[in-house]
């Protein structure tokens, strides 16, 4: 399913003394099967943008096209449920939303709520649990007896059981240990690769954006500052740093080496292996 934002503006508390402009002139296309990373400071409008992707909020100007549907300001929209089922948002710290007595009930809550028969929901719960790498034994446990990492996975399984076409992830690995982080990110990437899941990742991690995304959108002061492939975006690292954003570790070291060694790299290196190779190359070239 394709999502497109056209000239989207959103103001909080319109027509009150507290009115504030959160995002403006936002134009983004999310094509089916793509992996888009959205990057920006806290307060750059990422979260507001995210809520437009499944019509949790309606633009105050412009339009959001989600599949066949168009969400516009000034028009009452009914029947938003199908959109919510097709575009699933995993919010930050989703484990805070667990509430049921057992893991199974918690995972089934969403699908049942959307009219899926109980038996079918249970089958989906098992499948989702497997996808997030948990054993079936925990189905009968209380989600509150699980470790933090397991709770996170159960919450994600709850979203997968809805069988969305687009998965929107808001900082899905915050607070996890390094292995947990890698496992979760790899799991989402596998879903993306194997099942063609359209994925939107909101993150502060430039490493993750560089490693997984096909396209990066940089949000700054409520609007799109830059769009492009990781390669394009990190070819101009100085620009990002001026905004106070990080660049991947590899790119930062490249910049330092360019300055200290007086060498030039031909392209931004987005992996350690590539950087090591390039460093060797430029040093040998320099010595000749």
């Amino acid at each position: 399913m394709r999502i497109e934002l056209q000239d989207v503006e959103y103001r909080y508390q319109m027509n009150t003394p507290f009115e504030s402009l959160a995002i403006h002139d936002v134009n983004i296309e999310i094509n089916p099967g793509s992996y888009v990373a959205i990057i920006g400071h806290t307060g750059s409008g990422k979260s507001t943008l995210l809520q437009h992707l499944n019509a949790l909020i309606k633009p105050t100007k412009g339009r959001v096209i989600i599949g066949e549907r168009t969400i516009e300001s000034g028009r009452k929209e009914k029947q938003l449920r199908p959109i919510r089922q097709k575009v699933g948002i995993v919010f930050q710290f989703p484990e805070h939303q667990l509430f049921e007595e057992t893991v199974e009930k918690d995972i089934c809550f969403g699908p049942v709520n959307f009219g899926i028969p109980k038996e079918e929901a249970k089958i989906r719960a098992r499948k989702a649990l497997k996808q997030v790498g948990l054993a079936e034994e925990i189905l009968e446990k209380s989600p509150f007896d699980l470790s933090g990492g397991q709770m996170r996975r159960v919450a994600i399984a709850g979203m997968l059981a809805m069988q969305p076409e687009v998965l929107v992830l808001d900082e899905p690995t915050a607070g996890l240990d390094p292995r947990g982080r890698k496992e979760i990110m790899d799991m989402f990437y596998q879903l993306h690769k194997e099942q063609g899941m359209t994925t939107v990742l909101v993150t502060h991690s430039m490493e993750d954006a560089a490693r997984y995304a096909d396209e990066i959108v940089i949000m700054h002061q409520g609007t799109v500052y830059q769009k492009g492939t990781p390669f394009e975006i990190f070819s101009q690292p100085e620009q990002l740093m001026e905004l106070g954003l990080d660049v991947p570790d590899t790119v930062r070291v490249q910049l330092k080496l360019q300055k200290e060694l007086g060498v030039r790299f031909d392209h931004p290196c987005l992996s350690i292996e590539d950087l090591a190779l390039e460093v060797k190359r430029v040093m040998e070239r320099g010595s000749r």
């Binding site: 806290t42 990492g149 915050a174 607070g175 996890l176 070291v253 040093m283 040998e284 320099g286």
Partner: protein, 279 residues
């Protein structure tokens, strides 16, 4: 290494209904003025250690001594005055309606005189550079600012030790930097000894000493240099190694003649410069 501030001797602790000890026969010392990082996978016992150090839980066996006070239910209130704690979630530890009320909360509990309280609150907020925000409400603050207020709340009580229990893990990179910078200054001014429980290996690399926890056991302790030489072992424990160590390794695999390990990018870049000038 200086004066011992905290000693743990064979400390063991188990949560009710769990088969495995959360902390199993752990012994180590913390020295005055150091920055000690405790790392380990989720569920390795790190946070339990923090709770034990602050008397939020009590050891089943073994003993914990803080500044010559042996921690027990009888001494916990005295011990707690020595140990301040900052938790993970900035929103769960803001108790006041304004910044200054929040910092004053602990002092009120201790019955500190009003004039003294005003002074200490002001001082503490100066130290974390939040003195411009005295009457702000918490929801106007960023995560990093909230954590700095939490640190001020600890400072106002004038403890010897601050424990950061994954205090930066919910913050964005800028907030994380703010908080670590603040704590580092306090440590450098010899105001506090720091115990930082963290997943952030880049942060641990800058500590004076690291303790690695695994499945409730103390797996290893040493300087960052010593610990990060474990490389693969750490990864097997679910941890990671700092970027500069990984890159150094990759460069050596490319045949570059570099020294063993670099805990910071600066060291690595410097070494590469030297190598380049010799080529």
């Amino acid at each position: 290494m200086g004066e011992k501030l905290v000693s743990l001797n064979d400390v063991t602790f188990k949560y009710e209904g769990q088969d495995r000890n959360a902390v199993d026969c752990v012994s180590f010392d913390v020295y005055k003025g150091e920055w000690l990082a405790i790392v380990g996978h989720n569920g390795s016992g790190k946070s339990t250690l923090a709770k034990l150090l602050n008397g939020l839980q009590f050891a089943e066996s073994g003993s914990i001594t803080i500044n010559d006070i042996e921690l027990s239910e009888a001494t916990v209130w005295d011990a707690r005055k020595k140990v301040g704690m900052v938790f993970q979630n900035p929103d769960n530890q803001f108790v006041g309606t304004t910044v200054q009320d929040d910092v004053a909360f602990g002092l009120e509990n201790l019955g500190v005189q009003h004039q003294m309280m005003v002074e200490r609150v002001q001082n503490a907020l100066n130290k974390v550079q939040m003195d411009q925000f005295l009457n702000q409400e918490p929801h106007h603050l960023s995560g990093g600012q909230k954590q700095r207020v939490a640190i001020a709340g600890v400072l106002a009580l004038q403890p010897d030790i601050i424990i950061l229990d994954e205090a930066t893990s919910m913050l964005d990179p800028r907030g994380r930097e703010e908080v670590l910078h603040t704590v580092r200054e306090l440590k450098d001014e010899n105001i506090l000894t720091v115990i930082s429980i963290t997943h952030d290996l880049e942060e641990a690399a800058k500590a004076d000493r690291i303790i690695v926890m695994n499945q409730g056991l103390l797996y290893r302790q040493g300087t960052p240099d010593e610990i990060f030489q474990l490389e693969g072992e750490l990864v097997e424990l679910g941890l990671d190694i700092p970027f500069s160590v990984k890159l150094g390794k990759a460069l050596r695999e490319q045949g570059l003649n570099l020294a063993d390990s670099h805990l910071t990018e600066e060291e690595l870049v410097k070494d590469l410069c030297e190598l380049n000038s010799r080529m």
